[in-house]
Symmetry: C2
Subunit: 144 residues, 2 copies
DNA sequence: CCTATGTCAGCACGACTGATATTC
DNA sequence: CGAATATCAGTCGTGCTGACATAG
């Protein structure tokens, strides 16, 4: 793919990406948990995570992450625990209540997505399925 | 594709969609114009558009659109003109200055996207290129 | 008179920068 | 002492609802 084709693809891709913002907003409106919150809960679902890592991963500044985490703790969805090896570090851990809320939110969001996917042709669905790994890799490349 | 496969795809797709938020934010940080602003300017770039149509298209309420349009007019990027046929209607038109700003913003945003795409393999780029129309159709399906 | 369109006022959420402990 | 980590304080952008003016 030459430079001109690359720029062409970038432009078309940008237009699609911009529209995603509206989809996310629509998803937020229906559920109880905002996208940012679900995203944070997902991050700490596998293992406790440092505040700075959460911030970097979420593409936000540390104070913004702290603020959100404090709210999540007040809601009982996460716990803040101190690190054994470094007293400066705060680890964020998902509570049982947080896991329940996360599972419920994910399922609730999958429903309309699955419905929209079902309305596409089999070829279109396959095209999206095949592109998903490439999209994930693209996101990593943009982040770096 | 059966129900189980559909749900599986929806879940993976959701994870990718969520990450797009961070990309958009990163794009916003670098440019002068926010994504919302660029989106609005793009909408009125072809032809003048009503406030209510802009709001519906952007997935926001009319008062929010009005507010943004007033700011854009203050910045000299758009003009508000009255409709001939209906005096209640306000049409938003892109100014020359607005067109320049829009072109510059779009080019500036395409650069890092093209760069990230260039770092992918030819197969991955093709996968994304093929999926773009399906993604656009998916977005329409979600909006309805 | 009722509806449609747009604007104004007041509010909430979530990000940011700058300043401040505390620990390494 | 300088660097790293997290938090606090204050601000800003951008969305929302409810109330309102004007035109159809």
């Amino acid at each position: 793919m030459n430079d001109a084709e690359l720029r062409q693809l970038a432009g078309e891709f940008r237009a699609v990406l911009r529209q995603v913002v509206y989809l996310i907003r629509a998803m937020d409106a229906e559920g109880e948990l905002s996208t940012s919150v679900v995203s944070t809960l997902n991050m700490v679902s596998a293992a406790p995570m440092r505040v700075s890592d959460i911030a970097r991963n979420a593409g936000i500044r540390v104070p913004s992450a702290t603020e959100q985490i404090i709210k999540l703790e007040a809601a009982g969805l996460v716990q803040r625990i101190s690190s054994d090896s470094d007293a400066r570090v705060v680890l964020v851990r998902l509570t049982d209540k947080g896991r329940d809320a996360l599972d419920a939110a994910n399922e609730k969001r999958d429903a309309p997505i699955a419905e929209a996917l079902a309305s596409l042709s089999e070829e279109e669905r396959q095209a999206i399925a095949v592109a998903l790994p490439a999209l994930a890799k693209f996101q990593s490349a943009m982040g770096a």
